[in-house]
Structure formats: C-alpha cells, structure tokens
C-alpha cells in the first residue's frame, strides 16, 4: 500500500495517459478526440513536474535560511510543453471548424462514409 502511495504521481500519470489515449481511440467526435489528446498530454506535464519536487525544499529562489531547493528545470520545460500543447489544440480545433464547414459533420465515421463516396 505504501509503495502504491509513494508512487502516486506515477499512477496518476499512467491513468491520465491511458485515459487520454482511450478517449482518442473510442470517441468518434473530433472535438472529444482533441479533449482526449489534451488529457493525454497533461500526463506528461505531471511526469516531468513531480520528480522535480524535492521534499522539504522551497521554491528555487536564493534566499537566506534555505539551502534545499526544488529543481527549477522541469517547470521551465513544462511551461514550454504547455505552450506547445495549447498551440496544438488550437490548431486542431481550427481544423475541426473548417471540416465542419466543408462536410457538415465532425463525426469520424460519417466523414469516412462521405469520403468513400467522393
């Protein structure tokens, strides 16, 4: 039990990862797929951030009285990753809007039928 709790952050990561992927696989709606994708990416943020926390450490700002700091690097990295993620989702949504305009649907199976006819 304790081991499971000790690795809690990893379990959450795995849960988000699998859950996100599952949504991408299982849902035919293009927006829902993007939601799944977003959740899937979130798992990565957690994967990076959590090992950066040093128990008992403080924010990595040099100040008197503290000599244990958390690792600042993951925060920087994940900030970048979040920006990338936002851009991806924005572009994806823009594409969905255009697809809706062109086809009148954003359900993948219907799209598939439409394209087979074309």
């Amino acid at each position: 039990m304790t081991t499971i709790l000790a690795d809690l952050n990893y379990w959450v990561t795995v849960f988000l990862l699998v859950g996100g992927l599952y949504i991408v696989v299982a849902h035919g709606n293009m927006i829902k797929k993007l939601v799944g994708l977003s959740i899937f990416q979130t798992s990565v943020y957690l994967l990076f951030i959590s090992p950066g926390k040093v128990l008992g450490g403080t924010a990595p700002i040099i100040a008197e009285g503290f000599d244990v700091y958390s690792n600042p690097l993951p925060h920087v990295l994940i900030l970048t990753a979040i920006v990338v993620g936002v851009a991806t989702i924005a572009l994806g949504l823009a594409l969905v809007v255009r697809i809706h305009k062109s086809y009148g649907t954003i359900e993948e199976d219907e799209l598939h039928d439409l394209e087979s006819d074309a």
Partner: protein, 565 residues
C-alpha cells in the same frame, strides 16, 4: 585521335532526335552510326576511356579483336535499322532504337563487369519500348514479361559480379568460368539473354509482338550481346557445347508447326544461337572465330528476314502463314530479298551463312565432338526447312491468298537491298570478314568436297519438303497457340493455387482443406486488402490508428522487459 566510346555517340546522339524534323533528322540519325564506325575503325587495341564511379575505375572502351568485330556488326545493324525505319513517325521508336543499340555497343566495349551491367540493364529498359510501341494489349503484356525477365537477367549479373568482386577484389571483365558461385550466376544471366533452353521463351514471346521495325533491331542486339559476353567470359566451357546443341535442335520442331512467321523466325534465331554457343563451348581459335563470324553473318541475314516479314506485316497487317500466300506477284523485290536472306541462313554456298556456320561444324569435328556435329548437321537441314523454305514459300508463294499489297516502301527496300548485298558479299569474298575476326584464320570454306556436301544436304532437304508437301504429309498451317516454356509462368503459375485446391484438397480433408482454401482466397484478398478500397489502402479512422500505436507500444514494452527477466 578522338578516343570516345562509340556506344555513347549513339546514346547521346539520340537525345536531340525528338527535336529534329524531316531530312535533318534523317541525316542526323544516319550520321551517328557512320561517325561511330569511323571512330571505331581508327581505334587501336587497348583500354582507352576510363571514368571513376561507384568508387571504381570503369573501363568504358576496351578495344580488342573480339570487341571490335561485334562493334562493327552492331554499327552496321543499327545503320540498316535506321534506314529501314525512316518512314516511322513515332519518335520514341527512333530514340529507343538508338539508345538500345548504343547500349549494346557500349556493353561490347565495357572492360569491367560494372559498366557491362549498366549497359546490360540499359539494353533491357530501352528495348522494351520497341515492343510497347505496337500499342496492342498483347504487346503491352508481352513487353512487361520481357522487361521483367531482362531486368531479372541484369539482377543476376549484379549479384554475380558482387560475389566475384568480393572474392577476387577485381571487377575486370575477363574469363569468368563456372568454378565459383558468382560465375554460375553470371552464366545464368548471360544465358537468359542468350535464350538458353528453358530460359528462352521471352524471345518467342516478345519479338513477334514488337513493331515491324522494332523486331529488326531486337533480333540484332540483345542475343548477340549475350553471345559476345559468353565468348568473353566462358570460352571453352564444355557445358556450353551441350547447351548449344540442344538449343540448335529443339526450336526447329516448334518452328515447323508455328503459324506466325515472325515467331518462326524467332525460333530459328534461337536455333542459330545454338551454333554460336557450341562454338564458344568448344573454345578453340577456329571455334571462337566461327562463333564470331556466325554472329556477324547471322545479324545481317536475320535482320534481312525480319525486314522482309516486317514489310509484309506493314503492308498486309498480318504475318500468319495461314493468311498469306502469292505475295510475290505484287511484292517482287521483297520476295527476292527474302529468298536471299533464306539462302544465307540455310548456308547455301556463295551466301554468308555458308562461310561462317561451316567453321563451327569443322571445329566440332576437329575436336572429336561427333555426336554434337551430327546434331548440328541435323539442325542445318532443319534450318533450311523452316527458314529457308517455309518463310518465303508460305509468305510469297503457296496457295494464293488473293492479297495484292503494294511493294514495300522505298526506305525498307533500300535497307533490304543493302543487307542482301552484304549477305552475298560476305558469301563470295569471305576474306574480308575473316580479316577482322579475333584470331588468325586459315580456314578455306570453298573446297569441292565441302560445297558438294552442303549442296547435297540442302537439296535433299528440299526434296524431303517437296515429297512431304505432295503427299500431303506436311503439317497444315493452322491458327493456333503453341505452348512453350512460357506456359509454366503464364498458365501453371496462375492456376497453381486452384490446382492445389483440386488435387490436394480431394486427397485430404479437414484442416488441410481449410489451409488450401485460405491459399485460394489469398489472391482475391490481395486485391481486396491492397486494392483502392482494401483495408490496407483505405483511409483509417484516427481512432484505429491510435489503437495501433498502443498495441505496438505494448509489444515493444513486453519485448524489452522479457529480455531483462
């Protein structure tokens, strides 16, 4: 002095042809072989033109007796071919003809296996257009089969040369022999192009499908290039004697019952190659001289025969023996030229075949190969039968078909006249040809005894033909398809799965039956899955794609972890 590969003159010279028109094009195309001929004439023996590519030194211009005689005849052949095809409007035929001949000439002067291979493949690729240019579905299919087989030959050559390079560290194209695996592979590659028995059928399959002008060029280069390569790499290999004997004998049976006269010529081409292969297999100076001389003479008279049949095809639209006859009335010149070609291939005294074929026969007798000698003599009689008599007889005489086509176009007649003059010229003055052979010649073809023997042989063959015709025993010309080894891949290959189902399936049952049924469905499923709407080809929903990702991830994880446990 300019030292430049003559083959490249033709290949590069072909490039501007699409942009030239009218007489300028005619003059240009005729000037190319002439220029190459003059150049070749001036070249002394030795290696003259090397480039480095693929990290190797490639010798593109190795001039010696053997390469020179093949170079000359190839240039003569393309010159005649260009004249013969001047009336053709389709540019791609002219271009591919020139490139094809240039590649064959380039291959002859290649001093190393890599450049030989490059030219080898180029002849395959450039010549297929001469077949495709017929623009019929049959020609398309035959052309594709031809291409696959020819390219396959090149691939074998490549595999062999890599092995030899590995073993010896040299890519020089000298005597190869069949002692190493690489040598056997290369022999196989040469054998495909030389139409060895059972590897031969592309020839009878493809040549009759080419355009009237295309066949003339095809008959000259591909197989004779292989003969040259065999003479260079496998002279004196005893197996070749037997292969050649079989080659000389078996196609004539097919030729007798074949109705398509161009296919008859293709079979007789095959048979003539057999003589040359025997000569190479014997490998003495006389035999090799004979093989080279026979190749030289053969290219001209075989081209002449194909030219005459091409003229018939051009004018009447058919070369089926059952549809022709009586054409001598309206095509007298073509008839005469055809008879000259027929006399040459039959080796009548005073015609070119006589002075070259007899060298090979003499060499066989000298070396004590009596059985082979007998086979070749039989083949000589047979040649007379199907090429000497059958071709002119059924096309121009026999029963009158009622067809009254115009005489062949002027350019065709000129080409045929030139070829005829060469056939007779070589037959009457053999010393000119003997002078350019690779080895010194002290062979005298015209002795009383030899002339008499040959004339007896031929006249009694003619007697046999006459007797068989008059007694009604000669097989009638029937419209038919005659099976040959191509049946193996055109029919057996296709029905092998169904066959499995029928025979094996009836013997066994249960599980085995299931397996076989699966096999049968495989072909249908290939299209179902790979065809435009097949499962592998169609647009997949994103979800299933991602599912694949997940499956693969799990697979990899499992594989890695299994490893450490």
């Amino acid at each position: 002095m300019i030292e430049f590969p003559p083959g490249l003159i033709l290949i590069l010279g072909a490039l501007p042809v699409p942009f030239l028109r009218g007489p300028v094009r005619t003059i240009w195309m005729l000037a190319l072989p002439v220029a190459a001929f003059v150049l070749l004439y001036s070249l002394p023996e030795g290696n003259h033109f090397a480039i480095s590519a693929f990290g190797q030194q490639l010798e593109l211009l190795r001039v010696d007796g053997l390469s020179k005689v093949f170079g000359y005849i190839f240039l003569i052949a393309i010159f005649l071919g260009v004249i013969y095809s001047l009336h053709v409007r389709a540019i791609e035929e002219h271009v591919s003809g020139l490139v094809y001949s240039g590649a064959a000439i380039g291959a002859v002067f290649a001093g190393d296996l890599v450049s030989l291979f490059v030219y080898w493949e180029l002849t395959a690729i450039s010549s297929v257009f001469l077949i495709l240019a017929s623009r019929t579905p049959e020609a398309l299919a035959a052309g594709m089969r031809y291409l696959i087989i020819q390219v396959g030959s090149g691939v074998l050559l490549l595999a062999g040369l890599i092995m030899i390079w590995h073993e010896t560290g040299s890519i020089a194209f000298e005597h190869i022999g069949i002692e190493s695996v690489g040598g056997v592979l290369i022999l196989l590659a040469f054998g495909i192009k030389a139409a060895f028995p059972l590897l031969h059928n592309w020839l009878q399959d493809a040549y009759p499908q080419a355009t009237p002008t295309g066949t003339v060029l095809l008959s000259a280069f591909t197989t004779k290039l292989a003969i040259y390569a065999l003479a260079r790499g496998y002279a004196g290999t005893e197996e070749l004697i037997w292969i050649g004997a079989v080659m000389a004998a078996f196609p004539i049976f097919f030729a007798v019952i074949e109705n398509d006269l161009r296919r008859v010529l293709a079979y007789s081409l095959n048979n003539q190659l057999g003589f040359m292969v025997v000569g190479i297999g014997i490998g003495t100076e006389l035999a090799l001289n004979g093989a080279a001389a026979h190749a030289f003479a053969h290219i001209i008279y075989k081209a002449l025969l194909f030219m005459s049949m091409g003229a018939v095809l051009h004018r009447t639209g058919t070369v089926l023996a059952s549809e022709l006859g009586g054409l001598y009335k309206s095509m007298p010149f073509t008839t005469v030229f055809c008879i000259i070609g027929a006399a040459s291939i039959s080796a009548f005294p005073l015609f070119s075949g006589f002075i070259s074929k007899s060298m090979i026969l003499s060499a066989a007798a000298h070396e004590g190969h009596y059985f082979v000698w007998g086979v070749l003599l039989f083949a000589s009689a047979g040649v007379f039968h199907h090429s000497g008599i059958k071709i002119p007889f059924f096309a121009f005489f026999a029963h009158d078909s009622g067809k009254r086509p115009k005489e062949a176009p002027l350019n065709m007649l000129i080409a045929m006249a030139l070829a005829s003059a060469l056939c007779i010229g070589i037959g009457v003055w053999p010393s000119a040809l003997y002078a350019i052979l690779p080895f010194h010649v002290d062979y005298v073809p015209y002795t009383d005894s030899h002339v008499l023997s040959q004339v007896q042989l031929l006249f009694f063959s003619a007697l046999a033909f006459t007797v068989l015709m008059r007694t009604g025993l000669y097989p009638p010309e029937l419209r038919s398809t005659n099976l040959d080894s191509d049946w193996l891949y055109r029919r057996v290959g296709r029905s092998i799965l169904q066959y499995c189902v029928q025979t094996v399936g009836s013997m066994h049952s249960g599980i085995y039956d299931l397996v076989v049924r699966r096999c049968k469905r495989f072909v249908e499923q290939l299209y179902r899955h790979h065809g435009p709407h097949g499962i592998i080809a169609r647009t997949w929903p994103t979800g299933s794609m991602v599912l694949w990702v997940a499956i693969l991830l799990v697979t990899y994880l499992a594989l890695y972890f299994i490893d450490i446990f």
